[in-house]
């Protein structure tokens, strides 16, 4: 029963997304135009540190923008239906899983356009992609919960940013460090500590989100 519900919920998320193709297209345009603006204003980036921090700043804003809508579509009536029909744990896990997938794809897309327009400086592609993957999963865990909180508090868009930026900061610091190592092409043994912390943060974030969502759920 429970597994069925989860797949059902996930299917619903995908269906909703693909029925409203305009939002997906909107995100793609958002990514391209942000990257293009930074490419135009920076012209050429020589310093790896600048390249790195600009990339993560762009990704941070894209991630917050994309995931802020993940709970905003839940109207009052829908919320009541979901409350009666689904288990809160399944509900938040489906949201997180969907967001993870979306965020992983979007991070790759951002990286693709970024290295196209601005130029790639990454020497160790494997480590960079690993850092990108794990940080996008952790980002989606944090942002799903923050989106749920913001949606309960009058769906304020600026509230979403205010709430999630400071909470994302530890994650972002680790990701920036890891990707800097990848850009410099350092040996993997240097990065093991950070990779371990990032994976652990993933677990912590997802566990906390599932536990705490129970309490947000009740109206």
């Amino acid at each position: 029963m429970s597994k069925q519900q989860l797949t059902q919920l996930l299917k619903k998320e995908f269906l909703l997304e693909f029925r409203q193709k305009s939002t997906l297209a909107g995100i793609a345009v958002y990514i391209v135009s942000t990257v293009f603006i930074s490419a135009l204003s920076f012209k050429k980036i020589i310093q790896p540190t600048v390249w790195n921090s600009l990339f993560w700043t762009i990704f941070l804003f894209i991630a917050v923008n994309v995931s802020s809508k993940s709970f905003m579509q839940e109207t009052k009536g829908k919320g009541l239906f979901n409350y009666l029909y689904y288990n809160p744990r399944q509900f938040i896990i489906s949201k997180i899983m969907y967001n993870m997938l979306l965020m992983a794809v979007l991070s790759l897309l951002t990286f693709f356009f970024y290295s196209w327009f601005v130029g790639s400086m990454v020497q160790d592609m494997g480590m960079f992609l690993l850092a990108l993957l794990f940080s996008s999963t952790a980002f989606s865990g944090v942002l799903s919960l923050m989106s749920a909180i913001a949606s309960k508090a009058n769906n304020n868009m600026s509230l979403m940013a205010i709430l999630s930026f400071p909470v994302l900061m530890p994650l972002l610091m680790v990701s920036v460090k890891l990707s800097k190592h990848a850009i410099d092409g350092l040996a993997w043994s240097v990065s093991y500590n950070y990779l371990l912390i990032l994976v652990m943060l993933n677990f912590v974030v997802i566990a906390l989100a599932t536990i705490l969502f129970n309490y947000l759920w009740r109206e």
Binding site: K152, I162, P166, M169, P170, L216
Partner: protein, 220 residues
């Protein structure tokens, strides 16, 4: 009615103020006399973390019991914690000016952690003010409180241990552990920690009572 521990906290802090300035300290390179800051800066941070932890404990209990009084206490403890971050910053900044030669640096993970902690609690108060319904506000802000505290804990406690910090005890700087052996300093430092935590509890007590009275007045 004044409780005995309130008088105790005042006496202890008075003692650390006087004896902290007078007692002999080891003269380490760079640190010299500024080592005395450990009697003030560090206990103030401990009091801040203590209050923030207390706020989370109240938030967890609030989620379990749905009691608005617990939410009030959680909110007040968060305010006291935020309040203590400012003297902590001030003493740290002054100390940094004399030892590192700068008021503030982004090189140090602990400094960044504190800046993030302040931002997190400001966000917490903004979240509180944007929800009108009391029960809803209690629930949602408790959830954010717990989540944010865990992330802040990662930032302040775990990340600095991965990278070099400019703080004493990290990255080859004179360590706290080294002068921890000095019994003279221990005689001031440990009471100072207790004294400042008691003082923070005193402030919390007054603030909580005031908030309760205001609530009662508003209802009447």
């Amino acid at each position: 009615m004044i409780k005995w521990w309130k008088i105790l906290s005042a006496l202890i802090i008075l003692y650390t103020l006087v004896w902290g300035m007078l007692n002999p300290v080891p003269h380490l390179d760079i640190l010299n006399e500024t080592i005395r800051n450990v009697y003030f800066h560090v206990p103030i941070w401990f009091a801040m973390i203590f209050q923030m932890g207390l706020s989370v404990v109240y938030a967890i209990r609030q989620l379990n019991k749905n009691d608005l009084q617990l939410d009030l206490k959680s909110n007040q403890a968060a305010q006291v914690g935020l309040f203590f971050s400012f003297p902590g910053l001030l003493t740290g900044s002054m100390w940094a000016k004399f030892t590192w030669g700068t008021w503030w640096t982004f090189q140090d993970p602990k400094l960044n952690g504190v800046a993030i902690a302040i931002l997190i609690y400001l966000a917490y108060f903004i979240l509180r003010s944007s929800i009108d319904d009391e029960l809803k506000r209690a629930r949602i802000s408790s959830v954010y409180n717990i989540f944010a505290f865990v992330m802040m804990f990662v930032f302040i406690m775990i990340l600095p241990r991965l990278t070099d910090s400019l703080h004493p005890g990290n990255g080859g700087n004179p360590a706290f552990g080294k002068y921890d052996l000095d019994s003279n300093m221990r005689m001031v430092f440990y009471p100072a920690v207790i004294g400042w935590i008691l003082l923070s509890l005193w402030i919390l007590d007054i603030k909580t009572r005031l908030a309760q009275l205001t609530q009662k007045y508003d209802e009447a």
